[in-house]
Subunit: 616 residues, 2 copies
């Protein structure tokens, strides 16, 4: 079918340009008729056009839907989160509402303000003094989005976990020396709400009087501090050369590679997004994205019960994406893509090279050797990797969409960086984490991700989700005298909801187009999901952890498509009290069979830290 | 600790050399005092010395145990499988026994003889004639190891599945045109036992009179037949350069790479084996190997119920390993290792380059970006891959041991090649497989592998297997008022047996050394297994499929170590009636806690073939 993605005007699904971000902030200013410094912008992201219009445009010569922007902002002196949709074609605000009960995501400006407020507050300084730190100690803090433990709380709060660094070098690893202080600040007033102390023992109790710091050695990672001699010297260079360049072609945000074609979108919230994904000219997916992630911690001691980050909804994989520099993260021929975010004062800030794209060789893709003549045929497995690295304080998440030459899309997340640490009295152990250094506890936690898959198999919005199970034939001796037979039983999903995996039945989910038949197999054409079997959320339905993100409780979710239903735990996750996403969508008594349907897959890791055996 | 692996004499765990294979066959000849052509050799492999003696030698300056060879052979005119252990130091046969109730593995000589006997047998030719094949048709057959369906059967049988090729080119893909004949031959007498026909319909019934072939197009893969134009032209070269060479060092079969040290063993049965595996000077494993694989088919129609290959025990990953040629299968700087097998007449046959070793770059290994200064630290994930490709008729298995820089060993199997096909009347579908081309059925089946892990953590033979489960704290409101807490519960395994995985509890198995404590965590030093959750064998305990290889029924097995207990389904799997491996070892009422213990992991795939959408 025709593609019109190479037109000069932005494609309806292209990310916002810097000009568009600026235009959006201007449209809002003009609409609000207030002075420049009266508005504090938090987020400006593409407000995608309705799917129906976009498909008309892409596949049926429809006219291009208007470009629109979604704006989160505050009118200064107000704590109310405001949301506006700016039409970039008509220069009008189409929809404006405040969301007084919600907290917007963390923005860069407030993060810095809270950090400073905590470090400079006299009461905090007075507590620090009691630690009797060595003269070279520098005090730092990481403001954390405030997990929910009170449905009546309406203030915008940050819990500032505090650490020290024992070096003037700004690369010193403060996470290796946590101190027992986590003051709570109000992000709007920048007032100290509570000078919270951290437990050093097995229970909730904290030291009546903050005790002097019990010295321990820092654990550093920076080459600048450790020096070259601290690193392995016996690894010889491995270089990837592509003398003819890469095998992909780009035109604007449209990428073409090995029968694949897609638009590489990007949002502040999600980072890279794949739109209008086609293989060999056949439409497969309207949109594929990392929708959300939640990181609940398993330590009941106050305030750790509040540690539950939603790293997309609370901050954003785009916003926190690393600026990638050539030769640093990837090998071979690399293409980079920029992102754009808004500054507090409404100006666009280009984030260069936040997404990289390159090819890799993944070993043998297919091989057969003819044992009669010894001749072998080999195809190597070339892959295309679209990748970003999001830094959320101590953690790094490396998100990659990996496409191969056999029509597979692999969605990979690597969790790396530094574990979230807490202080503990030296010599003590608690069930809630692993001591990883004297006086340092790595808390047990989970990372549960949710991928959103919006299919349009062979161009039809009407698709069906079904699962196959392989089950043995039982008690049919006439049919199966030796008991070796098994059948594939297919169950079609007709209602929205959450579904479990079942390894024992090899339960595999697939997207099928009941309207089109595979000429060979005689079965509906389909695309299979290879799920990642993971332990789901351990916290029960009565907990805030569960109620804030029910997507984390089941591996598979099926919902009926609606425009703007992109985020698994709802639009506003920061200090959320209830899930306004999956929890709502899956309660609708809708038919999802042979309908415009969305498939969601939740997966993750339960992380119980294993320390190295090296002694201190 | 000292390593003496670089001595000129072979290390006790080195594979047999060509000279040693020849010496072993000579020792047996001399012992048997019979004419050269009176003996037909099947297999000569290293008979490993007792673990106790070998550890004494490696770690405590003990003397080198004698080198010994295990020989499978037949005295001609006898069908009895004979086994002898030849001492290469004393030149004596130490142990000789026949195994009349067992069938040895398939050997190359008989495979060719059976193939010829089938293709040339007048009765077979007469049936072929009824197919009225086009003049350019060539008839081929694949002799299959004969799965068990009769406990009284003692003949050595092969089922010859027949196909045609429609080209003189010897690269023509005969698997794409199966014909409804599968004669059974006796491998000793080469007599036709049964002119078995294959069902073309939904049931067992076969055509009374073999019907003329219903023409279908072949599906070819060979570049020689398809021509260059059939392949993608838009993939640009990707080259790996290692200007300073590889980072590994070898001395004999001892390999040193990135804190790793191991002896790269090899057997005809298993292919590559890792011995005496150490990390940073610390012993981790005495032996790591692919122990067995079973491939049961899920089609109850005769004779498909007999399709259950044990691709290590029936043939051997070493015996079937491809001769790898530089630049063909791998990129970068590659080291190759040879294997040696015995010919039927007792001569050594060197199999050049059956194992390759090279480094790969697996993307980012660790990264952290300091959000305060934007500086990032990145470590790439360099890995060492030890790999072989085994061709078992239509299938290829790519077995790789992948070592990384964080003390992980990844064991990877890629199943590739061509699916096992059967004829089906055009237009029909059956529940037992997927029609992948007109008249061609790909039968549903499973591949279940079993890895054997023999640990010596920190040099102690006494280790323990335990599993951790992450479970929520329930009904302890005083401890856990918000319900977020979870604990890690550890269960120590004290008895041999099979154990399930449990994703819902994040059950993870680990090897621990109860005698040594991690100085930081205060817990026993351990090494964790990241299992592959898979559907296990579907066939029930009453079936031959189950009784021949119970390892395939559970993901985890624990046994007490005994010398020579290396093969999960027992020594002789070909036409086996009972599992003489795990089934026996796990019934022993032994303690395995803080003992010399072996950990086994079974994993695999249930393969329901998905055809491409391309039309015919």
């Amino acid at each position: 079918m025709p593609t019109r993605s190479s037109k000069t005007a932005p494609h309806p699904l292209d990310p916002l340009t810097a000009d568009e971000v600026l235009a959006a902030s201007q449209i809002l200013r003009n609409h609000l008729q207030c002075a420049d410094d009266e508005i504090r912008f938090k987020v400006i992201d593409l407000a995608e056009p309705p799917k129906a219009l976009t498909l008309q445009y892409i596949y049926h010569n429809g006219s291009a839907p208007n470009r629109k922007a979604r704006i989160y902002y505050h009118v200064k002196r107000s704590q109310a989160l405001m949301v506006a949709i700016a039409n970039l074609a008509t220069h009008e605000i189409e929809n404006k509402y405040n969301s007084p009960d919600s907290q917007g995501p963390v923005d860069a400006d407030e993060y810095i303000l809270v950090h400073e407020a905590c470090n400079n507050h006299p009461a905090v300084k007075a507590e620090i003094a009691k630690l009797k730190l060595p003269p070279n100690a520098r005090v730092l803090n990481d403001p954390w989005a405030f997990g929910t433990d009170d449905t009546n709380e309406r203030r915008r709060l940050f819990q500032c976990y505090m650490y020290i660094a024992l070096s003037e070098d700004d690369e010193a690893n403060h996470y290796s020396i946590p101190i027992p202080l986590a003051p709570i600040f109000d992000a709007h007033t920048l007032e100290l709400v509570q000078l919270q102390k951290l437990p050093m023992g097995t229970g909730d109790e904290v030291d009546e009087e903050t005790q002097p710091w019990d010295p321990t050695k820092p654990v550093e990672y920076s080459a600048g501090i450790l020096g070259k001699d601290a690193f392995r010297k016996d690894l010889k260079p491995l270089q990837v050369h592509q003398p003819q360049g890469a095998s992909f072609r780009t035109s604007g945000r449209r990428v073409e590679w090995q029968k694949w074609s897609f638009i590489l979108g990007w949002t502040v919230r999600e980072g890279p997004v794949l739109h209008d994904v086609r293989y060999d000219g056949r439409p497969l997916f309207y949109r594929i994205s990392m929708s959300e992630m939640t990181v609940p911690y398993g330590d009941p001691r106050t305030p750790y019960h509040r540690k539950q980050a939603f790293d997309l909804g609370d901050s954003g994989f785009g916003l926190t994406s690393n600026i990638l520099s050539l030769g640093c993260d990837c090998l071979g021929h690399i293409a980079y893509f920029n992102g754009v975010r808004v500054t507090g004062d409404g100006n666009p800030m280009v984030m260069p090279n936040v997404v990289c794209m390159h090819e890799i060789d993944d070993g043998i893709g297919w091989k057969h050797t003819n044992l009669r003549n010894g001749k072998s045929s080999v195809v190597r497995n070339r892959q295309l990797v679209i990748q970003c690295t999001a830094t959320v304080a101590n953690y790094e998440y490396i998100l990659a969409f990996v496409l191969d030459q056999a029509a597979n899309i692999h969605i990979e997340v690597r969790a790396t960086g530094i574990v979230s640490t807490a202080p503990i009295r030296q010599g003590l152990h608690v069930p809630w984490g692993t001591v990883v250094a004297p006086g340092v506890l790595a808390l047990n936690h989970q990372h549960i991700f949710c991928v959103r898959i919006d299919p349009i198999l062979d161009g039809d919005s009407k698709n069906t989700i079904a699962y196959d199970e392989c089950q043995p034939v039982v008690n049919e001796p006439d049919l199966d005298p030796y008991g070796c037979a098994f059948r594939v039983n297919t169950t079609v999903i007709e209602k929205p909801g959450g579904y479990d995996l079942d390894i024992s039945k090899n339960r595999t989910f697939k997207i099928i187009n009941e309207g089109r038949t595979n000429a060979i197999s005689g079965q509906p054409r389909g695309y299979k999901l290879h799920p990642v079997p993971s332990q789901m959320l351990m916290m029960g339905p009565e907990t805030f952890n569960f109620r804030r993100g029910i997507f984390s409780s089941k591996a598979i979710w099926v919902t009926k498509y609606n425009d703007d239903e992109l985020w698994a735990a709802g639009e506003f996750t920061n200090q959320s009290r209830e899930d306004t996403g999956m929890a709502v969508w899956t309660k609708r008594p809708e038919n999802v069979k042979n309908e415009d349907v969305v498939l969601w897959h939740a997966f993750g890791v339960t992380h119980v830290t294993r320390p190295e055996g090296k002694s201190f």
